[in-house]
Structures are given as structure tokens and as C-alpha cells.
Symmetry: C2
Subunit: 322 residues, 2 copies
């Protein structure tokens, strides 16, 4: 088997997914790990281009993230934001001083004509991240959350309103004009991956935007490597964020089975393995009935060792098939 | 005399001029003091609109400026700039974290369609400055410094190259399309000022851009109030900045007389009073020969009391004429 065939591709949203990404980084050579981040959460704020999931992923891999909250930088200060507040500026999105540099720098690079793929790769390199980090696409895709007749841009819903409004659906504005970033497309086209991992991220607002980039989920299904999803729902609750609340509001069972049904319906034939927590072991038969192999382990990643162990488990699912 | 007739208009650049502006603020009711700042130093940097002279003036009047350097904010941190440096971003222009908020906020307001006059007034109000602060114009004017065949944008010359290259001239790009800000134009048109003060700022790069806004210096000459200039050159040296060095490079005597000649040649009939330092007392006759009344006092403003005393002296020059 060529060395390249051991490449692993992981799709991820923000905090929850980045935990498994860090575990995978602990288990694989840096050149073998390729990470695709959701950019449906990106937004323009204070004239800056902010890519929350890319930054969370890179800060996490760089060992710079705030360990309590999972996003933002450790030891961050908020002097600019405080001063902005005194001027009557918008402070609902908590931008730290060092984090602000990331957004200023990215915005300048984009304004100078760089693609988001190029800027993301350069950001990762500058912060010492040796893995390959890609945005899902270079084009602007913006998640809008439909809430009881209102349409909220994602960060307004997520940060501004703390996910309080009940949701009825999601739209990914601009996605019809998007394409997988060229670097990812090329790797997929030549069957470069030995495994594809979908990290335990929100199905609706983290993974759906990635998979709905035109042609992407079909390309993932058609490439030879098995696709493994780690359930973001454990014992009826989200590991992180509003996934379970959204499922309840959408009338989907807030369970690992509900997640599996969502993927089976939207992306038939995509998932080969579905990893669930021991506490959801009784759901294995339901998941198998959807055409996926259910695998049971501990999926709650509190410590670095948990992240590494879950990554190891996920990787061995596929290694054991060879 | 109507109350409005006691209004004072002061034209100023950055650090040096802001000292006298603060002295004037100590001597006058806030509603009586109108300050016009040079915007030829403004520039776009990191995608932000930066107005160094406006900010120096407002920070000084607000009591927020760094007392050692005269510009920037006291107690400032530079976390964003340090992080930007790690990303390979531009750090030659020292932007503090709190100062960055000013530029972010201003840039957003301008992008939303506010004029620089409106944004400047709002910034002053937000920081507790009750005097009226105006940019010289709403249009973009950019000072370029001609240096031995090179043309340097002002901040590149001033900050980037620390005023080292010898200068041969200056150009104010865009000035032909500029107009005095409407609020100033209206006050001038109705003869609202009792005195006009030109603060001890650089004649070439702080005051010339203001006076060369089309129609402005002629309007100042035609309005009824006397115009008083405080020499920025004392005993052959600049109070602050590169004025004396520029004069030597331009072949102009680096003296208060040289400054007076510059104004007499470019703006004939504009200046009524020319305030010089005791150490330049022997130049009074030369200045009088240029058609201005020379007035001699202590012009070096080290302490707050010096600023107030010089402002008092300047104001009494005109009060004594009534």
C-alpha cells in the first residue's frame, strides 16, 4: 500500500470536533492528517472576516486554546473589546486582543486576493500546526437559522441569542456557488485517504454545511476509504452545544439513532461506521438496521488521554478491516 | 458682542499642537472651542482607517493620552500587535489594543456611510470631550513625502523610516477634491469666531494640508477674527517632530523667521500675530517686517501650567485689541 494511502481525512466543526481532531493528531504523523473545517459559521464582523471553526481547530492543534471554554486563546485579554464598548461598538461577540490579530491578518490577506484555503494554511503554519487544515470551500457560505418566522445569521443565533430561540430549519446561503477547496478535491479524486472521520460535531450546523458543498458528500461516498462518524449525542445529550436541543425542536429523536437517521436520510450510503458511547449500547441494533456498522466505546473526551483513546479506537476500526 | 463671537478656532496637527489645544481647553468654555485637525496623516492600515492627529487631539483632551510620548493611550497594551507579528503581519505602526478599538469603530462607522466629521464628533463625545473637534475635510487627503526621488506615504516616512530620508517636497493627494467640513464652513461663513489660532504644529505636513483644503485659507483670511500662529520652531529647533530638519533640507532658515516667511509667501495676509519664544526675541523685527505683529512669551509647554499660560497669552493678544 502506498504511504499516501494511510492519509486520514477528518471533517469537523468547532469545539466538540476539535477534541477528536486533537486526538487524531496525537495518533498520526502530521503529514497524514487532513482536517476540513466548517465555514458556514464564518461571518463579517467589525469589518473583519471571522472563521470561528477554523480558528478553534487551529488554536486547539497549536495548544493555544482556552482549556475551559474550548474556543479562543488561553490567557487572552479583552482590552480592545472593552474600549470598543466605551465607544458604543458591538461587543456581543467576544473578541480577545490576540484573537483579533488573527481576524485582522486574515482579512488583510483575503483583501489582498489570497484564498481562504491559502490563508488557513498560512495561519496553521504560523502557529506551528503541521497538520493540513482546510476550509470546506473558498466561497462565502453563511448559515442562517430559521427560528419561528425569524431568520438569524448563525453567530446571532449561537452567540447573540445563546441558542435560545427554537429552530425550524437551516439554510446555507451561497452554498450553491461553493466548491470543495481544490486541495481537498484533488486528494479525493485520487483516492488518497485510508479513512474518513466525521468528528462529533453538530450534524445540522457543523457537518451539514460541509457535506452540502456541491459534490462533496458524493465524492466522499465514491472514494474508496470507509467513512466513520462519531456520534455527537451521548445518552440523549449533546457532548457540546445545541445539537440535542435542535433535534428536539426539529422533531427528530435526540439520540444517537436520531443522528444516524439524519445521515442515512440525507446522505444515503455515506456512513460505514457509526461510533456510539457505551451508554448508548442498546441503540447498536437500530443503527445497524440503517446500514451502518455500530461500534461502541467511550466517546466522552474530558482529558487528552480520552481524546487519544477515542481517536485510536476510530482508527483501529478501519485498520482491523484490512 | 453676541456670545458666539467669543468662539475660538484652533488648527492643529498631532502631539505639539495638541498641547496648546489642551491649554486652550483649560481657558475656554467647551462650547467656545472649535478644533480642526489635520487628516493628511490619515491612512488605511490593516484594512482600518487611522486618523493619527484626530486621535492624538481627542485622547489629549480626554486626558487619556500617554504622557511620555504624547500619542497613543496611557497604560496601553500591545497584545494584538504582538500576535499579529507572530503571524507575519505588519507591526511597524504601533497600534495598542485600546487604540485599535478606535480604528475598528471608526472604520465600521465610515463603512456604514457616516462622514469623518460625524465619526470624529461621536468619538469625542464618547470619550468625554466636550469641545468641538473636526477633521479638516471629509474627503481622503493623503500626504506624500518626496525624498530624493522616492515618494513615501506620510506614515511610512514618519513612523516607518523615522523621518530619516531628506525631504524635497510634499504633495497632498486628493486635496483638489476636498472641501472644509460643512460644520466649519458654516461657522466661517457667518463670522462666528473671535480668534483663530494656529497651534505650534509642523508647517509642512500638519498645517499646510489644512490650509490647502480648497477655499479654507482664503476663508480664514476673509473672516473678521485675527489669526494668531504660535511658532513651532524655538531657538532653531522644533518643539516636537521633524519641522526644523525639514526646513534645513528644503533650504529654508530653520528659525521662527523661516516659519513666518513660509506663511507670508504661501498665505499672504493670513497671519495677524506671530508668537515666538523669549529665546527668539531678536527675531521680532524680522517677523514684523513680514507684516505680522510679533509677540514674545515662553512657548515651550512642558507642564500643564505652561500649556495654560501660553493659551492665556495667545487669547489675551486678541482680547487686548478690543
Amino acid at each position: 500500500m502506498p504511504a499516501e494511502a494511510r492519509n486520514v481525512l477528518a471533517l469537523t466543526g468547532g469545539v466538540g470536533g476539535a477534541k477528536l481532531a486533537l486526538g487524531l493528531a496525537d495518533c498520526l504523523a502530521p503529514e497524514a492528517l487532513h482536517l476540513v473545517a466548517n465555514t458556514g459559521d464564518d461571518f463579517e464582523h467589525l469589518g473583519l472576516h471571522i472563521s470561528p471553526d477554523i480558528d478553534t481547530l487551529i488554536y486547539t492543534l497549536a495548544g493555544l486554546s482556552n482549556p475551559q471554554q474550548g474556543w479562543g486563546l488561553d490567557g487572552e485579554t479583552f482590552h480592545a473589546l472593552e474600549a470598543l464598548g466605551r465607544l458604543g461598538g458591538e461587543t456581543w461577540f467576544r473578541l480577545g486582543d490576540r484573537d483579533l490579530a488573527t481576524h485582522l491578518w486574515r482579512s488583510c490577506q483575503l483583501a489582498a486576493g489570497q484564498t481562504l484555503q491559502e490563508v488557513t494554511a498560512a495561519l496553521a503554519r504560523s502557529l506551528g500546526v503541521a497538520q493540513q487544515v482546510y476550509p470546506m470551500c473558498n466561497e462565502a457560505v453563511r448559515t442562517n437559522v430559521h427560528c419561528e418566522g425569524r431568520v438569524l445569521p448563525f453567530q446571532r443565533y449561537f452567540v447573540g441569542e445563546r441558542c435560545a430561540p427554537p429552530v425550524s430549519g437551516f439554510a446555507f446561503d451561497g452554498i450553491e456557488r461553493a466548491a470543495p477547496v481544490p486541495a481537498l478535491r484533488q486528494l479525493l479524486d485520487r483516492g488518497a485517504f485510508a479513512q474518513v472521520v466525521i468528528c462529533p460535531s453538530n450534524p445540522f450546523v457543523s457537518i451539514d454545511p460541509i457535506l452540502q458543498v456541491p459534490g462533496l458528500w458524493q465524492a466522499l461516498r465514491e472514494q474508496p476509504a470507509p467513512v466513520t462518524l462519531v456520534s455527537p449525542i451521548v445518552a440523549g445529550a449533546a457532548l457540546k452545544g445545541p445539537a440535542a436541543k435542535m433535534m428536539a425542536e426539529l422533531g427528530v429523536p435526540a439520540s444517537a439513532t436520531g443522528v444516524a437517521q439524519h445521515y442515512a436520510r440525507r446522505y444515503p450510503g455515506l456512513l460505514d461506521h457509526f461510533v456510539i458511547d457505551h451508554s448508548d449500547g442498546t441503540l447498536a441494533a437500530d443503527i445497524a438496521a440503517l446500514g451502518m456498522q455500530a461500534a461502541v466505546t467511550s466517546t466522552v473526551m474530558t482529558t487528552r488521554e480520552h481524546k487519544r483513546a477515542l481517536a485510536q479506537f476510530v482508527l483501529r476500526l478501519v485498520e482491523s478491516e484490512r
